[in-house]
């Protein structure tokens, strides 16, 4: 049987660190990158006699997530998940177990496909363990060092149904979920900083059977790329096992980014037995109808709606394939209001979209804070030919970095608009200086446009507009 006859069946668990000011159960700062062990107190250190008190903002963000994912929001409880590992000084993690706050929702991918959401529950994050010596590998390490700044940071774990059927679809699911979490300001979406972490449950099945195969959980997926690669690799591994008549063992596997493969974790002496029991220091969390109504009322426009808005602005004829990608990019990064505002002040939508999806997206954090009027002015200068695209991009980079007025930046960079006729004159000069190339161009060798444009750029100190040069060359050829 070939690989094509097999179908991967994937469910994803996404851990989302909530953007609160403080931890889930204490008033320590929730911040990434602070000096180790500077945000710790008796509660998150598990000192005797300390008591957890739930953060109202974390509950609210969990409800926003439930709402955005069409979940039922329910009265919920916390349990203790008991285990011995130095990343939790209490020797248990407080997590929602059989009574989670959000259940039974769904997420719709841009292509209309729905992925079920089984649950989205609250729990606390663990500390960060660094394995020292032996090249940092866990089994060769000499000892470990622990930083508890992250211990107690609020998380929502979003568990999908096994509705995902390919690596590409898994990637689209996480991209869409990330855009939603950013839209409701629950997450900063920074996978590289670990604020969004993904585990994948992967099994394979032959043909169109409803029966599910034995699954493996793949951990350590720190980017969308490694998520897709890990699912592809794990699918191939399971298929080759089954085709060789060997069983797939249910196990937890680790994605090895360097080797680009999944490896089994060292088998445990005994399966984990977490002995969950209700956390006696916390009471029922049951948001009433008023609170739920308020949250539902405050839900901002979702990515799907925002993409539809941009597509509508592009007008009849529909977006090109490149524009579909541009729309997805600006919405995923939360930059779509830049395009909408520019469009409403009369900027052509394709131009605003292109600059936002390329230049603004490359510096998204600063682009989100940019002065909207200045951004509009810059686009207008390009639209009216006062700046060439190359010049506009340079001014934009400066605008994001230092702020200021686009006209001032352009002047400082020496980007004065060329006087009418300058391009025409420069093209005429270049053409008469290269009669042989001109003859070939006139016989239809179109690629020589680049040759002439380069020379005109040299002659005008890169101030000429490439499109104008090309147009003038075409006009002369007749």
């Amino acid at each position: 049987m070939s690989v094509e006859a097999w179908e991967p069946v994937v469910g994803l668990e996404v851990h989302c660190e909530l953007k609160t000011a403080t931890k889930l159960f204490c008033g320590c700062r929730n911040a990434f990158g602070d000096e180790p062990n500077t945000n710790i107190c008796p509660v998150c250190l598990g000192l005797p006699g300390s008591l957890p008190v739930l953060n109202v903002k974390a509950v609210e963000l969990a409800m926003f997530i439930g709402n955005a994912l069409h979940c039922e929001i329910r009265p919920s409880l916390f349990h203790r998940k008991n285990y011995f590992y130095p990343d939790m000084p209490k020797d248990y993690q407080i997590s929602q177990y059989d009574e989670p706050i959000n259940v039974n929702g769904w997420l719709e991918l841009p292509d209309g496909q729905r992925v079920g959401i089984v649950r989205a529950h609250m729990e606390e994050d663990t500390g960060k363990t660094s394995h020292m010596g032996g090249g940092g590998r866990i089994h060769d390490a000499d000892h470990a060092l622990v930083d508890y700044n992250r211990a107690g940071v609020p998380l929502v774990e979003i568990v999908s149904a096994p509705d995902i059927r390919s690596a590409a679809q898994a990637r689209r699911y996480v991209e869409e979920l990330r855009a939603i979490l950013m839209a409701i300001r629950a997450s900063d979406g920074r996978m590289e900083e670990g604020s969004l972490r993904v585990d994948a449950n992967v099994s394979v099945r032959a043909g169109r059977t409803d029966e599910l195969g034995t699954r493996c959980e793949v951990k350590n997926l720190n980017s969308l790329r490694s998520l897709a690669r890990a699912i592809e690799h794990e699918t191939e591994r399971q298929v080759s096992l089954l085709e060789a008549g060997e069983p797939v063992l249910q196990q937890t596997r680790h994605w090895d980014e360097q080797a680009q493969k999944t490896v089994a974790l060292r088998s445990k002496e005994e399966a984990f037995d977490y002995r969950y029991f209700p956390e006696p220091d916390l009471v029922l969390v049951a948001p009433g109808p008023d609170w739920q109504y308020q949250v539902a009322l405050c839900l901002p426009p979702m990515p799907a709606e925002r993409r539809a808005k941009l597509t509508e602005l592009l007008g009849a004829g529909g977006p090109t394939a490149a524009q579909v990608d541009q729309v997805a990019t600006v919405v995923a990064l939360g930059l779509d209001t830049l395009v909408v505002e520019a469009a409403s002040s009369g900027i052509e939508v394709p131009l605003a979209l292109a600059r936002t999806a390329n230049e603004a997206a490359a510096d998204a954090d600063r682009a989100r804070e940019v002065d909207r009027a200045a951004y509009g002015t810059l686009l207008r200068m390009e639209q009216e030919g006062m700046l060439t695209p190359t010049q506009a991009k340079a001014v934009l980079a400066d605008l994001f970095e230092n702020g200021g007025h686009p006209a001032d930046i352009a002047r400082r960079k020496g980007f004065e608009a060329l006087g009418a006729g300058t391009v025409v004159a420069a093209v005429a000069d270049v053409v008469s200086a290269h009669p042989e190339e001109w003859a070939r161009y006139c016989q239809g060798e179109d690629k020589l446009v680049g040759f002439f444009t380069g020379l005109v750029m040299q002659a005008t100190d890169k101030k000429a507009n490439g499109k104008e040069v090309a147009a003038e060359l075409r006009r002369l050829r007749g």
Binding site: T20, A21, T22, C26, G27, R29, E35, P36, N37, N39, I40, C41, P42, L45, V53, L54, N55, V56, K57, A58, V59, P75, L77, N82, Y83, Y85, P86, D87, E99, T126, T129, S130, H131, I138, A141, D142, H143, A144, L145, V146, D147, Y148, K219, T252, H254, L265, R266, E270, F272, D273, Y274, R275, P278, P280, L282, V283, L284, V285, A286, G288
Partner: protein
């Protein structure tokens, strides 16, 4: 358990007690295991009596306190002094807690 709830049909065994001790990282001698297995079984028998009470018409409760939604505002409060905390740890290095070699991945 039988209809009077006076005894569990599956009484806690010595192996169960040894398993629980291992999970809790408690090192018990053979004599201690005999002693605690008996005591633990007695505690569970008592719980079985409670479980035998007919509760079909009673609402389940999540907590003995008649409270719900006990919440605090999301406001930063001062954390502890790092040096003071680390001074109380058995060993520290580079502003972090030093712990022995770990044998497996985080659960």
């Amino acid at each position: 358990m039988n209809e009077h709830g006076s005894a569990r049909s599956e009484r806690l065994t010595r192996e169960d007690a040894a398993y629980v001790a291992r999970l809790a990282r408690v090192d018990l001698t053979e004599d201690e295991l005999d002693l605690y297995a008996g005591q633990l079984a007695a505690v569970l028998d008592h719980a079985a009596q409670v479980a035998a009470i007919a509760t079909s018409g009673v609402e389940p409760t999540a907590h003995t306190l008649p409270l719900r939604n006990v919440l605090r505002d999301d406001v930063v409060r001062p954390s502890l002094e790092r040096e003071e905390v680390l001074a109380q740890a058995p060993r520290a290095e580079d502003g972090r807690f030093w712990v022995p070699r770990i044998l497996g991945e985080s659960p």
